[in-house]
C-alpha cells in the first residue's frame, strides 16, 4: 500500500481542502495520504470534507504549528 504526501503549509482554508480533494482523486482506493497543514481551520474542515465524501481520517496530530492528517481513501 502506498503512502502519499501533500504539503499544505501556509495555505488558508479552503485551499488545503481543495488540494486534499484533488490529491485523493489521483490515488487508488485503500491508499493513504499524509497532509501537513498550518491553518487551524483544517482541524475541522478536512475531517468534515472526508466524512461527506466517504474517506477516513486515520489520525490527526498537532506538532507545534503544524497539523498532520493521515487519510485513507
Amino acid at each position: 500500500m502506498s503512502q502519499h504526501q501533500l504539503d499544505c503549509r501556509n495555505l488558508l482554508c479552503p485551499m488545503p481542502v481543495i488540494r486534499t480533494q484533488n490529491a485523493l482523486k489521483d490515488i487508488a482506493e485503500g491508499e493513504t495520504l499524509e497532509v501537513v497543514c498550518t491553518d487551524p481551520g483544517t482541524l475541522n474542515d478536512i475531517p468534515t470534507w472526508c466524512r461527506i465524501n466517504g474517506h477516513t481520517v486515520l489520525s490527526t496530530e498537532e506538532q507545534g504549528h503544524e497539523i498532520i492528517f493521515q487519510i485513507k481513501k
Binding site: R9, N10, L12, C13, V17, T38, P40, G41, T48, I52
Partner: protein
C-alpha cells in the same frame, strides 16, 4: 394535448434526476438544495473558491477568534444535507470577472451579476457534471434579495448568459418565474416550490424551522470580501499603487491580514497584529522584504512595493511603533530581503500621532 403536457407525460419515471446545487454556505442555498432533495432528486453540491470567499475563515489565524467555531459553512451545509461537496478553485479564471465585469460593480468592488453568471456557467460546463448525467442546476437566488444580481430583470440574464437556460432552477422563487425544464419534465413538482421575493428573510427562517435547521450561518456582508467596503478600499489602493488593475492570489490573501499602512505612494507596510498573523506573514518572507524587531517583542512587517534606504528606515520606525519598544528611545530591527540577506538597524519609534490616519489603508 399541449407540448407541455406531452413532455410531462413522456418524462422517464424510473431514472432519478440529478442536480448540482451551488452551495455558498449561507441559508438560501441550503434551503434551495433541501427543497429539491425533498422531492427525491439526487443532489450534489459545488462550492467555488474565488480567493475572496469569507468562507476562507482567515480569522482562524487570529487569537481573538480562537474560541469561535472554525467551520467552513459550505462543508457544514453539505453535511447537514448529507450530500457530497466538490470545492473548485476558480481563483485564476475569476480574475477576469473582478477586473472586467460586463455588468459592472455593486456598492463596492463586487461584480455580483457577472459572478453569478460565471458560477452557473462553471457548474454547467464542468465536465464531470455532464459526464455524470446531472440534469439541472440549483441556486438559492431569491427575487429582490440583492439589489443588483437578484432582481426579476436579471434572473433571465443569468440563465441565458450562463448557458444554463431553463436547466437553472431557483426553488425559493420558482413560482414567480416561468417554469423551467425540471418543472416541465416533472423532475420536480412546481407546486412544492416557493414564491419568495424581497429582502425580508422571514420566509427563509420559517422554512428553515420547518426543516429543523437552527444553526445556520447568516454572514452580514454575504459570503464575499468584495462586498466589504474596507476590503474593496484596500484592493483599489493596491491597483492604484501599481498603476494597473491586476492581482495575484497572494495579494488578495494578504489584504485580509494585518494593518496595511501606506506612508508613501511607492510602498506599503503590512504589519501583523498578533502572533497568529506573525506566523502567517512569516510564510511570505521569501517573497517580500521583511522587518522584525530584535530588541523588543513586536510584529513581523512585510514591505510591498519599491523602496530605497530612506523608505526602509521610515518603515522600520513605523514597525517599531507597533512593537513593545514603542516608548523606548530606540528599537533595533532586522531587515531581511526575500533572498535571505539581512542587516540590523537602530531606529527611533514613530509616535502614534506621526503615523498619519490617512496612511492607514
Amino acid at each position: 394535448m399541449s407540448n407541455l403536457e406531452t413532455l410531462q407525460n413522456t418524462a422517464p419515471k424510473s431514472k432519478q434526476p440529478k442536480a448540482v446545487a451551488l452551495i455558498s454556505g449561507g441559508l438560501d442555498s441550503l434551503l434551495a438544495a433541501k427543497v429539491v432533495q425533498e422531492q427525491g432528486v439526487h443532489v450534489e453540491g459545488i462550492n467555488f473558491y474565488t480567493g475572496f470567499c469569507v468562507e476562507g475563515h482567515t480569522h482562524a489565524i487570529r487569537k481573538k477568534d480562537k474560541e469561535k467555531e472554525k467551520r467552513n459553512n459550505a462543508l457544514w451545509v453539505a453535511e447537514q444535507l448529507g450530500i457530497k461537496l466538490h470545492i473548485i478553485d476558480i481563483s485564476e479564471e475569476y480574475k477576469d470577472i473582478v477586473l472586467n465585469p460586463k455588468h459592472g460593480y455593486g456598492a463596492n468592488l463586487n461584480p455580483c451579476l457577472d459572478c453569478k453568471i460565471f458560477m452557473v456557467n462553471q457548474a454547467q460546463a464542468w465536465a464531470w457534471a455532464e459526464e455524470n448525467g446531472f440534469d439541472f442546476i440549483i441556486t438559492g437566488e431569491v427575487i429582490g434579495q440583492r439589489p443588483k444580481s437578484q432582481r426579476k430583470e436579471t434572473m433571465p440574464i443569468i440563465a441565458r448568459e450562463s448557458g444554463a437556460d431553463d436547466r437553472l432552477l431557483r426553488p425559493l422563487c420558482a413560482k414567480n418565474l416561468i417554469p423551467t425544464l425540471p418543472e416541465r419534465e416533472g423532475w420536480v413538482n412546481r407546486e412544492e416550490l416557493y414564491d419568495f421575493s424581497g429582502r425580508s428573510r422571514k420566509p427563509q427562517f420559517e422554512l428553515a424551522k420547518k426543516f429543523g435547521f437552527e444553526d445556520f450561518a447568516q454572514p452580514a456582508g454575504g459570503c464575499c470580501f468584495l462586498t466589504d467596503a474596507n476590503y474593496s478600499k484596500k484592493l483599489a489602493d493596491l491597483w492604484e499603487a501599481r498603476g494597473e488593475r491586476r492581482y495575484e492570489l497572494d495579494d488578495i490573501m494578504l489584504l485580509k491580514v494585518g494593518r496595511h499602512i501606506r506612508p508613501k505612494k511607492n510602498f506599503k507596510l503590512i504589519v501583523s497584529r498578533e502572533e497568529g498573523e506573525n506566523n502567517f506573514l512569516r510564510g511570505y518572507k521569501r517573497q517580500f522584504t521583511s522587518i522584525h524587531t530584535v530588541s523588543h517583542g513586536g510584529p513581523l512587517t512585510l514591505l510591498d512595493g519599491e523602496f530605497d534606504k530612506d523608505d526602509i528606515k521610515l518603515a522600520a520606525r513605523i514597525a517599531a511603533r507597533y512593537s513593545g519598544g514603542k516608548h523606548a528611545d530606540k528599537v533595533t530591527v532586522q531587515v531581511e530581503n526575500y533572498q535571505g540577506s539581512s542587516f540590523v538597524l537602530d531606529v527611533e519609534p514613530m509616535t502614534a500621532d506621526a503615523v498619519k490616519q490617512e496612511w492607514h489603508v
